[in-house]
Amino acid sequence: MSQNNEDNMEEKEDPILEDSIVISEEAEEALAEIQEEGNRKKRMWLLLLLLLLLLCSCGLFVRYLVQPEPLPDIILPFTGPGSELSYPPHYLFSIYGLSQPVGVTLSPDEQLIYVSESGDERLIKVFDRSGNPVNSFAPPDTTQGYRSPVYMDTDDQGQLYVTDRLQHSIVIYSREGKYLDSILGTDLLLSEFIAKHIQGNMPEEITFSYNIITRELKYKLQEDGEEFSLPDPDPAVWAPLGLWINKNNDVFITDVFEGQHRVLTFKNLNKVKFGRGEDFDPKPRSFGASGQNAGEFLYPNKVVVDSQGRYYVSDGNNGRISVWGDEFLYQFGRGTGDGALSLPRGLMIDDRDRLYVVDAVDHAVKVYDVSGDEPIFLFKFGNLGIDDGLFNFPNDIAIDSTGRLYITDRENQRIQVWSY
């Protein structure tokens, strides 16, 4: 009986078992399909992620090729004063073949580097971006004893403005180095003075020169024509030293005439047609006075303006940076420590409101973040020495949009090029 029962049980159970096996196989297939679909989805997401990364990388590469900026500046947004983006640049190379270079600036397209020398021939020398010499020039009818170019800058047309300590003037050249004109005072151009004396339109071919030391003012109506002399203008009552031009072509000058140390700002000087005898009366804004008190200057070397319209003046012999708005605001740089200044000379400010101060006696460049209400010292780079990356009385600095810095290393007779 029991055997029969067991047989019956087996007979009854077998179909169920078979069914369950069939179901299980189907389930497994379904499960495998689900798993396959899941894997496929995962791989799809992975592919999408990789494609996104590829797109970003390509975009970044193209962005860098179009506008080469330091990678951290491209990737990370600027986060405000004292941002963690403050990292010092590194030495790249040097440009030699100079005698005691003091001033440096770039052409508007940043392909030419202009350097003023204070030694030997005292020329303006021009180099390409790789440091190869291109050209050199000086004011007409002057020898090295009668000229001393210092600071300079270019306007958006590429005209080069150079202050001359001995000639007490600002000499204007074309991009190629052709002499155009001289600003002899706050309201006098050399061509304007000549035009008034010859009482007529300035011919296209006119050439002229003026040497303030020998007091010789000469002009020729035609290149091969007769040379004429004129009585020289009244002595200049200014001594332009520092010069900087902003993106609106406003020119900012420091004047170190005896007992009259001040800052002058000229609006839109690029609209003046230099060399054509135009009336020149730009009515510059002037501020500051000689002295050591707050708001006074002792040999202000250079002036730059930040994105909020504040003026920063390197107050050389007072060893500080003087900050101005409509009125004197504050000063910084006195004291001790890395951020303290000894003899600030060249100044420059970048798009992120990082102020670069060349400290000639500390043989270093000191960088401050001035985007906030108060300056924050970020870092300094350089030290005394003759090796690559060391300075021996640096004087001026220029910065290009790719993050390259050009620094005149006066006593090492070179321009040092640094890069972020």
């Binding site: 590829l54 990388s57 590194h90």
Partner: protein, 319 residues
């Protein structure tokens, strides 16, 4: 249509997705590595950058090419090659000069120095000897810095060639030109030591450390020479100063105390103790030993200098 069909077929294939993933990954790697390489090249590499010496060499090579008989230009070029470390090129230039003008002493000097740098010591001795012989006969020999340099290197080279007897007169002459040349004193000491004149040797070593107090080789020379003389006290002094220079101040104190036991009136040992205690920040003991040194030798410059420094440190600690 064909393209669409192709894409449909391509997509329907089993491994399409995997292939696309690997392809994209590869493309990503190519783009990232290209960008990294370009970025590094653009920001950190400046091709064709030349040092002032390289520029000067180029300029002088041009001058020599323009006028191969210009001896001054060749000599300047040889000097630049030497400064730049191109010793064989310097020798080649000088040989051409000496072929035309065998008495050009400048060419002999550069050749001798170049052979010295190339470790061809016999030839170095030959050319430096020729140069020194010519210059010694000059009326300005005793103010001739180039001669002093030549004599020093001649002496050093002769010592290296194990010819100390010949080195001694050259080094003595060098010291007559520059009596502060501690390196020449050391080499002279070595030459005396190797010619079995340890007393004269230690005199030179002591002179050398007077001018360069941390001249470790001079102390080691003293150890050897005093050992030859069986002078345990001065060996202890020398070992003490050697340890001081190595920065092992406690060891130096042990040796210097032993030296004082043998030589209680030897001022330099007290100076060494003062210096060691100063380094261990025990300024009071340092002052005591320096004062003792000055009591024995009031003109000891190193002791005077150290005392000033120690007292300044003590004042700073008090304030």
């Amino acid at each position: 249509m064909k393209l669409i069909d192709f894409l449909k077929k391509f997509w329907a294939e089993k491994n399409t997705l995997d292939r696309m993933i690997w392809g994209t990954l590869l493309a990503l790697l190519v783009v990232v590595s290209s960008f990294s390489g370009y970025y590094y090249w653009d920001r950190y590499v400046h091709l064709g950058d030349q040092s002032p010496i390289e520029l000067s060499v180029k300029e002088l090579e041009g001058a020599v090419r323009n006028d191969p008989t210009d001896i001054d230009a060749r000599l300047n070029l040889a000097q630049q090659y030497y400064d730049f470390g191109s010793y064989q090129s310097a020798i080649n230039q000088c040989e051409q000069i000496l072929e035309l003008y065998p008495d050009t002493d400048g060419a002999m000097f550069i050749t001798g120095m170049s052979y010295y740098r190339l470790q061809d010591l016999d030839l170095a001795v030959e050319y430096l000897s020729q140069f020194s012989k010519i210059r010694k006969e000059s009326s300005t020999a005793y103010t001739d810095i180039a001669l002093e340099t030549s004599l020093y290197f001649l002496g050093e080279t002769l010592n290296k060639l194990d010819r100390p007897e010949e080195a001694i007169p050259e080094l003595l002459f060098a010291l007559e030109i520059d009596f502060t040349d501690a390196d020449a004193m050391y080499q002279l000491g070595l030459a005396y030591a190797r010619t079995d004149q340890p007393q004269l040797a230690v005199e030179q070593f002591h002179q050398a450390v007077r001018f360069v107090p941390d001249f470790i080789e001079a102390y080691q020379g003293m150890i050897n020479s005093y050992s030859d003389m069986n002078n345990a006290g001065m060996v202890a002094y020398s070992r003490g100063m050697e340890a001081y220079v190595f920065g092992e101040f406690e060891v130096s104190i042990t040796h210097l105390v032993a030296a004082i036991e043998d030589y209680p009136e030897f001022a330099p040992a007290y100076v060494g103790l003062g210096l060691s205690y100063e380094k261990l920040d025990d300024l009071e003991k340092a002052e005591i030993y320096i004062l003792k040194a000055l009591e024995i030798d009031p003109d000891n410059f190193l002791a005077q200098n150290t005392l000033g420094r120690i007292r300044s440190l003590m004042d700073n600690q008090d304030s």
